[in-house]
């Protein structure tokens, strides 16, 4: 069994987790073009290598971030999202908070 280390619950079987997609910056839906929004909704880097992605520990509904190698399937690090989201996110009024998010 493959084990993933949940930052909240400790090491658990990978079957307890749900994959949640790549960490990517969200454009401002009020001001961005349709093309930018479509790019955000559908497109992904789908990189072969180390990626940062969202995961959820399903029984506790706890979302966190993981660095994982998509060729070797090695989980390098899992961490609480507060490492990245360290200030209040304002989803309105030309928010730039999410634009600064990078892997």
């Amino acid at each position: 069994m493959k084990i993933m280390n949940c930052p909240l619950n400790g090491p658990r079987n990978i079957s307890e987790f749900t994959y949640g997609g790549e960490l990517k910056a969200m454009p401002d839906s009020a001001t961005c073009s349709d093309i930018e929004w479509a790019d955000y909704v559908f497109n992904s880097d789908n990189a072969a290598g180390v990626v940062t992605e969202w995961w959820m520990h399903t029984p506790s509904s706890y979302w966190f971030l993981a660095e994982r190698h998509t060729v070797t399937d090695q989980i390098i690090r899992t961490f609480d999202p507060k490492e990245v989201f360290n200030q209040r996110v304002d989803f309105h009024a030309n928010s730039t908070a999410l634009k600064g998010v990078t892997a």
Binding site: K2, D39, F42, D45, A48, D73
Partner: protein
């Protein structure tokens, strides 16, 4: 006959039929470079030569022919999809498959057994009614059948698996299977006969794009110029698209499958159930092939996991309880390029003279002939997209015009 055999045994000029000519040096330039020597790439090459007289073509394959998903899929041929766009496209492919052995003078072991999909919920029964009507509208042979008819078709099937009794079935008489490697070999043989060059162990490492148009490809055997290029590399589509600077909606997941020891023939149709995440068929050798859903998270690795095997086989045994004693002989995985709407990406790309044959997820094998034919038409016309593949353009994701086939896959992924 033994005398003939003896004669040829002693003679030095035994009439050997060569399917593929010996490898040659790469030329410095080709009219068309096809990246990927699987079924799709070879089919494009064949139809370019056959229908359009374009033979200055190189097929570049990084490993051996059909080494990727062409030889890893579970060889299901069917057209009972959900959307008009999808059914029209796949139905044409089924028609083409029926005559391929004759066309190739090479037996692809096409076997029209019919495909049975099981409904375990009222919602699925409703979806089946729609699929049956859409399929009939486009000339396919599909109908709804009840439990009694299912029992007659597949006596060994357990109609009351656990908490999910079978309510009805979608019986697709055009459903078939074929030897997938032979499809690639048949196309390769006939394309090579017409002058197409097939280069194995030739890895395309980068693309040369000048002023928004492709001009050359860089390979491990040197750079070659090209009038145009097409990528047909299931499993790594988005990585090649990234080299061309193209963003893609593809996410890449492994899909695991396995096969048992051979049994006497007991299962004629291909049987699938998306509620049980499982499809089952018996090959002409008697082995039972199990395929299921993709892995739960993206990966570029064909490793095996116990979790997926356990869940897939638990469901397979619910469907066919006597298989509980069967021994597994082999397991493998393919790398599938899943798109958000479970339809392929075919046609033009933002790079001029660079064409896409990508995003084939778990539905690529059955489309091999029609994909090859329509892509060849697109390339030969210099970029005029045939009507049949217009709905599958990459831009559908920026126009929010997806072709949703998620409900029509054999197993939910």
């Amino acid at each position: 006959m033994p005398f003939n055999l003896l004669k040829y045994g002693l003679s030095s000029d035994y009439p050997v039929e060569v399917d593929l000519p010996a490898p040659k040096e790469l030329k410095s330039s080709y009219d068309v470079v096809i990246i990927g020597g699987g079924g799709h790439g070879l089919a494009i090459a064949y139809y370019l030569a056959k229908y359009h007289g374009i033979t200055n073509v190189a097929v570049l394959e990084k490993s051996y022919l059909g080494s990727g998903n062409t030889a890893r899929n579970t060889a299901v041929i069917r057209s009972n999809y959900l959307t008009s766009e999808g059914v029209r496209f796949y139905a044409e492919s089924v028609n083409m498959f029926q005559n391929l052995s004759n066309e190739f003078d090479f037996n692809i072991m096409y076997s029209e057994r019919g495909q049975l999909t099981l409904a375990h919920t009222d919602a699925t029964v409703r979806a089946f009614r729609q699929r049956a009507e859409v399929n009939k509208h486009f000339g396919g042979r599909t109908e709804m059948i009840d439990r009694q008819q299912i029992r007659e078709l597949v006596p060994s099937l357990n109609l009351d698996p656990g908490h999910l009794p079978v309510l009805a079935g979608l019986w697709h008489m055009d459903g078939a299977t074929a030897r997938h490697d032979a499809v690639a070999w048949g196309y390769a043989k006939q394309a090579a006969k017409r002058g197409v060059e097939i280069h194995q162990l030739t890895d395309v490492q980068d693309l040369v794009i000048e002023n928004g148009a492709i001009t050359a490809v860089k390979t491990n055997r040197g750079t070659i110029k090209c009038g145009c290029a097409v990528q047909a590399i299931a499993g790594h589509s988005s990585l090649m698209m990234a080299k061309a600077g193209i963003r893609s909606p593809i996410q890449t997941f492994p899909l695991q499958a396995m096969v048992t020891q051979p049994f006497k023939p007991f299962l004629d149709p291909l049987v699938s159930s998306s509620a049980l995440h499982c499809y089952v068929q018996q090959t002409s050798r008697g082995e039972v092939v199990f395929g299921g859903g993709s892995d739960p998270y993206p990966l570029y690795n064909s490793r095996s996991t116990l979790d997926l095997k356990e869940s897939l086989l638990a469901h397979a045994i619910e469907m066919f309880p006597f298989l509980a004693n069967a021994k597994l002989m082999r397991q493998w995985a393919g790398i599938t390029d899943m798109t958000p709407d479970y339809s392929p990406i075919m046609g033009l790309s933002p790079v001029e003279n660079y064409y896409l044959d990508a995003g084939w997820g778990t539905w690529g094998f059955k489309a091999t002939p029609i994909c090859g034919k329509t892509m060849a038409e697109l390339i030969a016309s210099g970029g005029k997209v045939p009507d049949l593949i217009k709905p599958f353009a990459l831009e559908r994701f920026s126009r929010f015009q997806q072709v949703n086939e998620m409900g029509a896959t054999a197993a939910s992924h």
